[in-house]
Symmetry: C2
Subunit: 187 residues, 2 copies
Amino acid sequence: MKKKLKEHIEKIIPLTEDEFLIISSYFVFEKYQKNEFLIKQGKSADHCYFVVTGLLKLFYDDKDGKQHIISFAMEDWWESDFAAYFSKTKANMSLQCIEDISVFSLSLESYHKLCTKIPKMERFFLQKSISGQIASQNRILSFLTSNAKERYEQLLKQYPLLFQRVPKTLLASYLGVSRETLSRLSS
Amino acid sequence: MKKKLKEHIEKIIPLTEDEFLIISSYFVFEKYQKNEFLIKQGKSADHCYFVVTGLLKLFYDDKDGKQHIISFAMEDWWESDFAAYFSKTKANMSLQCIEDISVFSLSLESYHKLCTKIPKMERFFLQKSISGQIASQNRILSFLTSNAKERYEQLLKQYPLLFQRVPKTLLASYLGVSRETLSRLSS
């Protein structure tokens, strides 16, 4: 499993074996079952996660108990409530397994130690953060410029595999439409 | 003006005078007038900008010529079409002055040279990128969970000064509502 983490990091920065030994010592490999929570809204969010296998959802429960999906996370993605993680505040979102999953988790303390010990990891995290910011900018743009049907088609084109793995109810929540509207769009 | 840039960077990483001399040599101080474009949709986006004074809008023109505002940028903010900037592709958005402005611009080539020369600048940019990502995550959440009235009130609470500086038409475009709807919300 560590091999997957190494390959993933090496897509951005070259690593010696010794460097990777140090890096991997800060990560903890964990498995969670379908429906388990990694982060719960209102609790602390002490870790960020690199997804090795499986699928998760990052979502917000509003005061009426309605679930709003901010993003899905699958293989090779990093996920957390980053505001809560970096500022040590209570999570404003939950992170829950849609499938059985395996992840490498990284505590904030380990994150800081890792960046001090192997400074070029900051370049790696910077690259990941920029990609995340670009994806978010595009999602904002799609909310401003596209109707539900267009957002559905964009998602289908960008992540075709997601449609086989994610229940329709969750897709509707991600797109910000009702389950009935989604049925009309996908028929 | 360089003092503002130094103070801004030093909020995140400590700098010696010599280090800042090197850093500042990569930035170019520029002034633009109200309505001038720094980035044009469909053209290259060769620079990112640190705003010293003034206010700008980052927006997307849809195929019907309707303007959708992704974000405003004012004093101490960094702005660009980051996807186009980092991947050297054509800009998908425009960056235009709402007021006369002054900025420090940084080309992508200078950005890479700067990070190689002063590696701790990557920690600075990482911090800025994370803040940007968190702000974007919150904006996505507000689209999913809040109606126009609530989004208006959130914006008013978060950036009260923006309401004195930004024409109502642009605020409406940022909130994704019509000018008429905004008038009802703000009355």
